[in-house]
Every structure is written in C-alpha cells, then in structure tokens.
C-alpha cells in the first residue's frame, strides 16, 4: 500500500481560455489538427477501416480454400488478395491501432498537455494514410501479386513487371516512414512532457510500452524504409542491390524485411502486454503485481524480439552459426514473457474480478497469445523450424499471436479507453458476443491450419488437391475464419453504435489509477486544467485517497463574524482591488 501524499499542491488555474469559436468546418479542423487526441482518433479510425479490409481479404481467401481444387477465385486474384492482406493486417492495421491508442492515451497518462512536435505527429498520420491509399489505389489498375513478403527476384521487374509491386513497396515505405516520425514525436514527448514527479519507475506500464515501441519503430521502421527504397531503386533505376546476376544479394532483402516484420510483431506484443498490464489491476481492484518486474520484462522483450529476426530464415542459405544466434534470442524471450505471465496471474490472484468487457478481452489476449507463443517456441528450435516454418502450422501460430495481440489486445484497449475518447461506454452484450465469436473463430481457424500444415500444406497456396487429406482441416479453418470475422465486425459495430448511443460515463468509469482518468471524458484540448504532482505509480488513487481523507477530516468552517462593509469612498479603487484578487 503506497502512502498517500502528504500534500498535493493547491489547484491553480493555468489555462484561462477554454476554446475559441471555431472558424472552419469540423472536418477541416480535424484534418489540419496536430493535437494528439485528434491524431489518435484518426489513427484509430483508419486502422479499423483497414481491419475491415483485412478481414474481407482473409474471408475471400478462406472461401477459395473451403473445398479442394476450388475455382471460386482465380489464382491471380487470390495472389493479389494474399499480397495486400499481409501488409494490411500488420502495417495498416496492427501497428496503427497501437499507435492510435498510444497517441490518444499516453500524453494523458504522463500528464502532458500535448506532444512536443504536433506537426510531425500530423505528418506521420498523413504519410501512413497516403501509404494505405497508395497500396489500395492499385486495385484500380493492377494490385501487387508478389506475396505477403515480396522477396526479390520475384519482386523485381523481370518477374513482377506490373506497377502493383511498386504500389506495395511505395505504400509500405510511406507507412513505415510515418511510423518512424510518430515514434520520434512520442519519444520526445515521453522524455520532455512528463508531469512533475512522473519519474520512469512511476510510469504506467502502457506508457512504458509506448516508449519501447517508439525505440523498436525507430530501429525497425528505418530499416524497412531503407529496404523499400533499395527495392524501388532496383525496380525503377536499374539498381542491383538484390540482383544475384550482378553481384547483389536476394538474401539481403530477407534480412531487412524480416527484421522489420519481426519488429512489427514485437510492437503488437508490447502493445498488448502494456494494455493487459494496465487493465488487469483496474478490474481486479488491486495494484499490479510486480510493477518493476513487468517494466523490466517489457524492456527485455523489445531487443530480444528484434534480435530473433533470423528465426524466420532457418531454411535460407545462411551460416548455421547465425541460426544458433537467432534461436538463442528467440528462446531467451521465454524469460521475460514467462515473468509477464506470472505477474498477470499474480495480479488476478486474490483480486476481486469484475468481468467487464476490457478484462474479458485482456484475458482472451493472454490466452490466445500464449497458444501462439508456445508454438513459436517450438518452431524456434532449428530442426523443428525446418519442418514447420512456412507451413500453415507456423502460420496458425502467427495468427494466434497477431489476433491475440492486435484483435483481443486491441479490442481490450478499445473497450477500456472508449469512455475516455467518447465519454460513452461500449455495450457489454455485443462485447460478450464478439468475445466468444473471436475465441471460437481463432481456435477453429488455427486448429484446422495446424493439422493441415502437419499434413503438409505450405502457406499462401491458392488451392490444394483432392485426396491429400487436407479437405476437412481447410473446411474447419474456413468456418473458423468466418466466425472470427463475425467477432471483429460485432465489436466494430458496437463501437460505431456506442459512439452516439452508448451509456454516458463520467471522467473515471472504471476507477482507474492512472492520470488519463483525471481528465474529462472526452478531454478538453489542453487535457488538464491542473497537472497534479505524481507521488507514486498510481497517481489517481493517491488523489482519491487524499480527497477521502480531506472529506473525513473536514469540519465546517467556524461562522465568520459579519461586519458591515465600509462605505466605498472611491468606487474605481474598490473595483481594482477585486480584480487583483481574482487574478491571484
């Protein structure tokens, strides 16, 4: 039990003007805004739109794979769907959803009135959106078809002569450049704009995750931007970076792109881990178990995860020593992730669990990612990786982690912070339906894919043959993906409906202990009238405790002797005195 602060500095109004009369239309205000909340909302809206596209693509691909030797969707269209799907799910949905919530919530959590570089934040969003539009505009002429990760030489001009491959490269390049700029802005804010007393050890886990995500994005995002630039030079200006005929190296692209995609994976995981660590204590009504151990584990996940990029490349022609290095990094992740799991269960244990939607989805995130990470643990052992990598078995593990992290974790965060963003709560009934659909869907899909992969089905195929024993597994996986899609749509519908018609809540509907709940819902443009001093890792709890004590020890003031006011000799002087008192 942290000791309540002895003294909280008295409230001083620091901002006098609340709002100017808007002179321009609302959409223009939003589009030209550098406010972290407006940008967060834009990021969230765009990420959810791309989530719908990703789900549509997934469902179409699974429709094609319901029966053997299916001809519902032509191979060309299947390859196009598959090539846009990977970039959409990870680059246009997974990372931006995390960034949207970080942008909205983290400055509030650390008691900031805004970000350090608002215009950089705005540029980051518009670059990301331009990237998404670049990728999808290719559907107007010729979509990319060089695979989820377009490895050269398949993605060079000889084998992919159409502009679709350029759309993929340019789209992903623009988006990751946006992420790097976002990370720079957020890191600067996290370093320079913390409330007095908000030292690193008192940072909420989500804000700490955001710091680490910032570092991961700066490193991995720059690498991917460089890789996309190099591939673009190869395609458009006769470069030979990846051309084996001219002394270039196709393996180089694999290193660079896998470094980024592994980084993206780490971003999704850190975001989910931070969210879970934030939600569990609030809904178990007790402080998080092992705050410092959680912070240390998150800090260990970031570099170890990045260093394990080569565990996607066990079959590539690289020296076996490098593979051992990748295996060591991947296995070392067991330690921080295991400690995190231990702490979360320790947080739940002995608590008073209120099974509201945020907790439900957070528990789903822990459970689902555990399935995926256990599978990843298996295939990080080199011989098992040689057998299972690039089969639907390994893909199922990826789905477990990404659905667990981005969908369960992302939705948990959405349910948790929705009242802060809109001032209204999302419906619990639809939340329950969505949760069970997601849980049943992801398991049905993954189990079907696991068995299909063990039976020998590789990833990304547009068809499989009769009599290979794959039909039943693919049918189960397809049905699972449809249920999963239903679960996603239920929560998105819930959000769309609740934004207008949800139950109105106050500033702090969940009895949170972090500073974002100290602001109004939705927060005013300047976030806080008064920025409180932070004395512990749970500042709002301290404030609540302080107010309670104040209330208990409060005594009615003694009656004041009434005195007749002296007749004012000079009215102007009296006015001056009054205004002087006001401004104090």
């Amino acid at each position: 039990m942290s000791t309540p602060p002895a003294r909280i500095s008295p409230a001083r109004p620091e901002i006098v003007t609340e709002r100017f009369q808007p002179r321009r239309p609302a959409w223009f205000e939003l589009a030209s805004s550098g406010d972290h909340k407006a940008l967060g909302a834009l990021y969230l809206g765009a990420a959810c739109s791309f989530l719908v596209l990703a789900v549509v693509e997934l469902v179409l691909m699974r429709v094609q794979l319901i029966v053997p030797e299916s001809t519902i969707i032509s191979p060309e269209i299947f390859d196009q769907l598959m090539s846009t799907y990977g970039a959409t799910a990870v680059v246009l949905f997974g990372i931006p959803l995390a960034l949207g919530l970080i942008s909205y919530i983290v400055p509030l959590q650390i008691g900031a009135r805004g970000t350090v570089f608002p215009r950089l934040g705005a540029l980051s969003f518009w670059l990301y959106l331009a990237g998404g539009i670049t990728l999808y505009a290719s559907y107007l002429y010729r979509p990319p078809d060089a695979g989820t990760n377009p490895l050269p030489p398949l993605s060079d001009t000889v084998f992919s002569p159409t502009a679709g491959a350029d759309a993929w490269i340019a789209g992903v390049g623009l988006a990751v450049l946006g992420f790097v700029l976002f990370a720079i802005n957020m890191l600067a804010t996290l370093y320079r704009r913390r409330a007095p007393g908000m030292v690193w050890r008192r940072m909420p886990p989500f804000a700490w995750s955001a710091t680490l995500i910032g570092y991961v994005l700066v490193v991995a995002g720059s690498v991917m931007f460089a890789a996309c630039t190099m591939l673009m030079i190869d395609r458009q200006f006769d470069g030979v970076f990846f051309d084996p005929g001219e002394g270039g190296s196709p393996i180089l692209w694999q290193h660079l792109s896998w470094f980024f995609f592994t980084g993206a994976y780490v971003v999704v995981l850190l975001f989910a881990f931070g969210t879970i660590s934030e939600i569990l204590p609030v809904f178990s009504r007790k402080p998080v178990f092992g705050h410092r151990a959680i912070a240390a584990s998150l800090a260990a996940v970031a570099p170890l995860g990045l260093l394990a990029w080569m565990h996607n490349m066990y079959s590539a022609p690289i020296p076996v020593g490098w593979e051992y290095f990748a295996m060591a990094a991947a296995l070392a992740l067991t330690i921080p992730i295991g400690v995190l799991l231990f702490n979360w269960i320790g947080t739940l244990w002995g608590g008073v669990l209120h099974l509201r939607a945020p907790l439900l989805f957070a528990l789903g995130a822990i459970s689902t990612t555990t399935f995926g990470l256990a599978g990843e643990l298996m295939s990080s052992v080199i011989p098992i990786g040689w057998q299972l990598d690039h089969t639907t078995t390994a893909q199922a593990d990826t789905y477990y982690v990404l659905v667990g992290g981005s969908v369960f974790g992302g939705f948990a965060a959405l349910y948790y912070w929705f009242p802060k963003i809109t001032g209204r709560r999302m419906g619990e009934g639809l939340a329950g339906g969505s949760f069970w659909a997601l849980l049943v869907g992801v398991h049905a899909m993954a189990i079907g894919m696991i068995f299909a992969g063990l039976e020998g089905q590789p990833v990304d195929v547009y068809k499989f043959y009769e009599g290979e024993g794959l039909a039943a597994y693919n049918l189960i996986a397809s049905i699972g993906s449809f249920v999963l899609a239903l679960g996603v749509l239920l929560t998105l519908a819930n959000a769309a409906y609740s934004a207008r018609h949800g139950v109105e809540t106050g500033a702090d509907p969940w009895r949170g202990s972090t500073l974002e709940w100290f602001a109004l819902s939705p927060p005013p443009p300047h976030n806080f009238d008064v920025i409180p001093d932070v004395r512990s890792a749970e500042p709002l709890r301290d404030i609540r405790e302080f107010v309670r004590r104040r209330t208990e020890t409060w005594e009615p003031p003694r009656p004041v002797e009434r005195r007749e006011p002296e007749p004012a000799a000079n009215p102007a002087k009296a006015d001056a005195g009054a205004s002087e008192q006001d401004s104090r």
């Binding site: 191979p75 390859d79 030489p153 084998f159 084996p244 005929g245 196709p250 393996i251 178990s284 009504r285 178990f289 092992g290 151990a293 079959s315 590539a316 022609p317 076996v320 593979e323 051992y324 295996m327 060591a328 296995l331 067991t334 330690i335 295991g338 400690v339 231990f342 269960i345 320790g346 244990w349 002995g350 608590g351 008073v352 669990l353 099974l355 822990i366 459970s367 555990t370 399935f371 256990a374 599978g375 298996m378 052992v381 080199i382 011989p383 098992i384 990786g385 040689w386 057998q387 990598d389 690039h390 089969t391 068995f451 063990l454 020998g456 089905q457 590789p458 990833v459 990304d460 068809k463």
Partner: protein, 279 residues
C-alpha cells in the same frame, strides 16, 4: 467428471485420426527432427495448459462477489528472480537440446549396405563426378524454376518433376534456382531448404524404404506456386540403374531427333528456323 472421462477416452481415437507431428520415418534426419519435436510439443503443451488453467481458476475463484475484499498475493522476496532463473534454466536446456538436435540432423550419415556401392555402380565408370558407394553420398543438383524442379544426376542425366534415388543411399542435394526463390520440402525426408538464385544450399537424406514421397514447394513463387510439386521416388539399386540407363537413352533419342530436324532445316539452329518460318 464424466465429461473428462469421455474426453480422455476419445483422445487416442482423435490422436489416431489427426496428424500430431510432421511426416517422418523415411530418413534419419526426419526422424531426429521428430524426436525433438515431441519433446518441444510436451513443453509447449505444459505452458499452454498451465497458463490457461491458471486464468480459468482465477476467474472462477476470484470473480467479484458481495463483501469480498481484494487481497494481495503473498509471494516471497525475490520471487521474480527465482521465476526468471527457472525460466532461464528451461530456455538454456532447450537451447542445448536444440543445438545437439541440429547437429544430429545436419550430420550426414554414410550410405547403408543395401545402398548404391562403388562396385555395383556404372556411374563410376563415366567419371563425370565422384561415384557414390562405400558410404559416399550420391550428389544431386536440384534446380528450382517456375514452377517445377529439375534434377541433375551425377552422370549428367537429368529429369523433371520426379527425383529417382536408390534406397539406403545417402543423397546430397545441392539446391539452386534459375529464377526466383523456391523452397524444397519433402516432409518425410527432412526439413525445408531454400533454393536461392546465386547461392548454393545443401541438404541430405537417406531413404530407408522404397516408395514415393510427395513434397511441395513452400515459398510463394508466382501464379503457379500451388502446383509446384516435388516428388522423390525411392527404388532398389538395380531399378535405379536401369531407370538411369533408360532415362539417358530417352534423352539421347530426343536430342538426336532435334539434331535430325536441325539438319533437315539446312544446318540452321532451331531458333533461326523458327524465325525464318515466321517471316
């Protein structure tokens, strides 16, 4: 309880019906892979079951009820250090097992007694490449191209789609690609390996049983990727030699036919002749 008993009773039936491990049993490297696979499957299953049981137990036991207060979990001092040390020990053990298993899988076994021997092979007399036999591996050049595999045998014979190898003989595969990255994978004969243009990559297998082993390419390589199959036909040594002779004769015949046609066309190459016909 009844439900649990039913599930337990159904488990062997389910385990029989579905694959729980990748295909194996045809080559020592695939068998070594399966051995470590079972160990890791148990580790992964323990983790998944433990975490999920703990979550369910927490929800059942500590769901909010009237009048109950939250109590902190009692844990000794330095509990996190102990948990981390335990996990570190497990990770280290897996790493060591992984390194041992990797070197076992990579370790090329000599050919067996039933395999191709130097004395019985006629490939040796051709002197095209080092002969197989007496434990020496048979070296094959496997070249990926959109969307089939081309196999080149030690004596220069080649075949498409299907690799024919003698039983109980160690076969070294030298992987290469003429266009984009492909990935060789015949699960019963071991793990995947990339065929990257401009880079050599090596793997091996030793088929212990006569039979046909199906494989698929496991790297997206363009529109025909799903149809890109790899098939290995394992035959007895005499059958292998007979097949090799037949294949060589077929190739010779086809080449002679082409040559004859070229002469008919007046010494021009086929390409020139085609150009001439078009004009």
């Amino acid at each position: 309880m009844t439900l649990a008993a039913l599930v337990l009773a159904a488990l062997p039936a389910i385990a029989h019906a579905v694959p729980l491990a990748p295909e194996d049993g045809a080559s020592p490297n695939a068998d070594d892979t399966t051995a470590i696979y079972w160990v890791m499957l148990v580790v992964a299953a323990v983790i998944v079951v433990a975490v999920n049981l703990a979550l369910v137990a927490a929800v059942v036991r500590f769901r909010a009820r009237r009048g109950r207060e939250a109590t902190r979990m009692r844990a000794g001092r330095r509990v996190h250090a102990r948990v981390a040390a335990l996990l570190g020990a497990v990770a280290t053990a897996i790493f060591v097992a992984g390194v041992i298993s990797t070197s076992q899988v990579r370790d090329v076994e000599p050919s067996g007694p039933e395999g191709l021997q130097a004395a019985s092979t006629r490939t040796a007399q051709l002197g095209v490449s080092p002969p197989a036999g007496d434990g020496q591996p048979l070296s094959m050049l496997v070249s990926g191209q959109q969307w089939l595999w081309r196999y080149e045998y030690p004596d220069g014979t080649f075949s498409y789609y299907e690799l024919v190898v003698p039983v109980d003989t160690t076969v070294m595969l030298e992987l290469d690609s003429t266009d984009v990255v492909h990935r060789w994978w015949v699960p019963a004969l071991g793990g995947k390996l990339d065929a990257t243009p401009g880079r050599d990559n090596q793997t091996w297998f030793k088929a212990e049983e006569v039979g046909v082993y199906e494989g698929r390419s496991a790297q997206f390589s363009g529109p025909g990727y799903a149809t890109m199959r790899a098939r290995v036909r394992v035959v007895s040594v005499p059958e292998y030699e007979a097949w090799l002779d037949q294949q060589k004769a077929d190739i010779q015949e086809a080449q002679d036919a082409v040559q004859e046609r070229v002469q008919q066309l007046g010494g021009r190459s086929v390409a020139e002749a085609v150009q001439g016909a078009e004009q």
